[in-house]
């Protein structure tokens, strides 16, 4: 058994005792499973509770724990632990955020048990139901449903996907393994036959899908849980940018290698470039606030932004 501190056990005891006081006569095994413990762990905790009480610690002032022949447990005389300890602000926030986030998933019943639980919990915590608002990401509910069903059924789909990085549409056959939300967007992780490898796609960039009703030929490795969405490879090109203070958000927004301390607000950061149009777009958006100072595996990196800008200018200044 892993080492567990007195404080950890205290948390458990302060939650379990009030529940048993309020629900006398439940079986030890059921209580243990309700709180995610083994029976041995629960009995050890109850053994400690047995020693707790108020001075002068005479038998009538100690907590009375009784377990009958059928394994039903009762606790009496625990007035001081008759209700659980209130939630810390962090615990309350985490529960409300999880619930509101799950309710934002298209397809979740907006009037179901979770919505009722959220309203009751918010009221008990002294906040309004709307005070915490979590949107996991924009995605069409039907698209998420169809991807999740394919993932659950282990079948393949064909999709038209807009690759933001490459600024191009492609048609791909993939075996979806898992659908998840991360940092404000929905993703599907699976095997892509076109790339002949594992890939992660943003659900809101899938233009359309067709179910192929054929079993996936490649299955995920057992126990695989990829939650990160970005996996740079050794050979990917790198670019080093000099960023002014108003462009320093780049460091928070994209995975960077080698970020220097700012000098007069200017810092340099090295980014992995998975697709050239992505870099082009980033540089055009940053404009005068960013300069390319170095590039590896990338020809003409310093000319990228200028070429893109020239292409765009043609649109704003039509010939003639």
């Amino acid at each position: 058994m892993s080492r567990i501190t007195a404080a950890d056990r205290m948390r458990r005891v302060l939650a379990i005792v009030p529940w048993i006081v309020a629900n006398p006569g439940e079986k030890v095994a059921d209580v243990a499973s309700r709180f995610g413990l083994t029976e041995e762990e629960l009995l050890a905790d109850l053994g400690v509770v047995y020693m707790v009480g108020l001075p002068p610690y005479s038998p009538d002032a100690l907590v009375d724990v009784q377990i009958d022949d059928e394994g039903r447990v009762t606790i009496r005389l625990a007035d001081f632990f008759s209700r659980p300890l209130r939630l810390t602000p962090g615990q309350g926030l985490a529960l409300l955020a999880s619930s509101d986030g799950l309710l934002s998933v298209p397809g979740t019943d907006a009037d179901g048990a979770l919505a009722r639980a959220l309203a009751k919990l918010a009221a008990a915590l002294g906040v309004g139901d709307d005070d915490i608002d979590v949107h996991l990401g924009a995605a069409e509910g039907r698209m998420l449903d169809r991807l999740r069903h394919a993932a659950a059924a282990g079948t393949e789909i064909e999709m038209v996907y807009y690759s933001y990085g490459r600024d191009a549409h492609t048609t791909r056959v993939i075996a979806p393994w898992r659908v998840f939300a991360d940092a404000g967007a929905w993703y599907v992780h699976g095997w892509c036959h076109r790339a002949d490898g594992e890939r992660i796609f943003r659900v809101d960039r899938i233009e359309s899908i067709t179910e192929l009703d054929r079993p996936a030929t490649v299955r995920p490795d057992d126990g695989e849980q990829t939650n990160g969405v970005f996996h740079p490879r050794e050979g990917d090109p790198r670019v080093t940018l000099e960023l002014d203070a108003d462009a320093s958000w780049v460091v928070d927004a994209y995975p960077c290698e080698d970020v220097t301390e700012p000098v007069d607000g200017v810092l340099t950061a090295t980014l992995v470039v998975t697709a050239v149009p992505w870099l082009e777009r980033l540089l055009v958006r940053l404009g005068p606030s960013a300069r390319v100072v170095d590039a590896q595996g990338l020809a003409d990196a310093t000319l990228l932004a200028g070429r893109a800008a020239a292409r765009m200018l043609e649109r704003y200044r039509p010939a003639g």
Binding site: G53, R86, V284, L303
Partner: protein
């Protein structure tokens, strides 16, 4: 050792909850089993126990013991601080909360103890959100929300209806907090800025220091959250509203519509391209959005903003050296 300490902490909590008047450290030493005799060893142990109680979230009150001179610190736990008001959750609601906490996690804050306090996990495996057509649908969803040091103090201030102070864009702000929003991967605070006398939005990751609660009561009541879902970057700002017209090529129209949201009006052209009419209060954010389309979009109006884009692109074209 652990059991002795657990017993002592439980007894200490029981005594502190039971007492009506603050008890001095010495009184507690006498009443609670398991403390060393008076002296340095006792003080060390007692200080550590107090810290442990605080870490556990047990609200220990420190008050002066009556009729002591010089004053002596006394301790007690007030019932109203300690006990969880019963939210009255039905079993299916508790199971739904359990499922939510398993599938959507808030970094650094989600923990099992919260559910224990609410009555356990309600069984080993939450099968589904009741009332949902297909139990399997949301079960495997896993989403993670980033944590932020400002979240807990802001949430606490919302529930206690207090104002908060924090540094933001090199200025000290005092705000009546109304709402925390998570969208597009970021946490935002909406509230009433006391100095600016109006509603403002703040990005939590741009808060440049600690969020401190004040003793001042929040007086404004939050208006209902905006319809049409979360706001876009160009809807978050302090500028006079400007209506922009943006032409987007047919092949990028779907993506643009998703980014712009359902409320933005689009006028479809014969070639399939669409002219969107977009209300903007943050010019920089909107320029960045427009530039992201590269040559697949064109800002039509206002003409001053169009000229600004042209200047922006010309500067880039020159800075990168001769083209063509």
């Amino acid at each position: 050792m652990t059991v002795n300490k657990l017993e002592r902490l439980l007894n200490l909590t029981a005594v502190l909850l039971d007492t009506r008047r603050p008890l001095s450290a010495e009184e507690l030493r006498q009443k609670v089993d398991g403390y060393p005799p008076p002296g340095a060893a006792f003080h060390r142990t007692f200080e550590r126990d107090k810290d442990d109680l605080r870490v556990l979230g047990i609200p220990l009150r420190v008050e002066r013991v009556p009729a002591t001179d010089p004053p002596v610190d006394g301790y007690r736990i007030a019932a109203e601080d300690y006990y969880l008001p019963d939210p009255g959750l039905d079993p299916d609601e508790l199971a739904a909360l359990h499922l939510a906490s398993l599938t959507v996690r808030l970094e650094g804050l989600g923990d099992q103890e919260a559910l224990w306090k609410l009555g356990g996990l309600g069984g080993a495996e939450p099968s589904a959100v009741p009332g949902q057509g297909d139990p399997g649908v949301v079960k495997d969803v896993v989403a993670s929300l980033p944590g932020d040091p400002g979240l807990v103090p802001i949430f606490q201030a919302i529930s206690e209806r207090r104002t908060i102070r924090f540094p933001y864009r090199d200025e000290a702000r005092e705000v009546e907090p109304w709402r925390l929003d998570f969208h597009r991967g970021r946490w935002y605070l909406t509230g009433f800025d006391l100095a600016r006398e109006g509603e403002r939005n703040f990005r939590l990751d741009r808060i440049d220091g600690a969020v401190e609660p004040t003793d001042r009561k929040a007086e404004t009541r939050p208006p209902p959250p905006p319809a049409g879902g979360p706001r876009r970057p160009w809807e978050l700002g302090e500028e006079q509203p400007v209506t922009a017209r943006l032409l987007v090529d047919a092949e990028r129209v779907d993506a643009a519509r998703r980014e712009l949201g359902p409320d933005v009006v689009g006028d479809q052209q014969p070639d399939g391209s669409v002219i969107f009419t977009v209300p903007v209060v943050n010019h920089d954010a909107f320029r960045s959005f427009v530039l992201g389309f590269l040559h697949h979009a064109e800002l039509l109006e206002p003409s001053a903003w169009r000229a600004d884009i042209v200047r922006w692109l010309e500067a880039l074209a020159v800075a990168s050296g001769p083209v063509r």
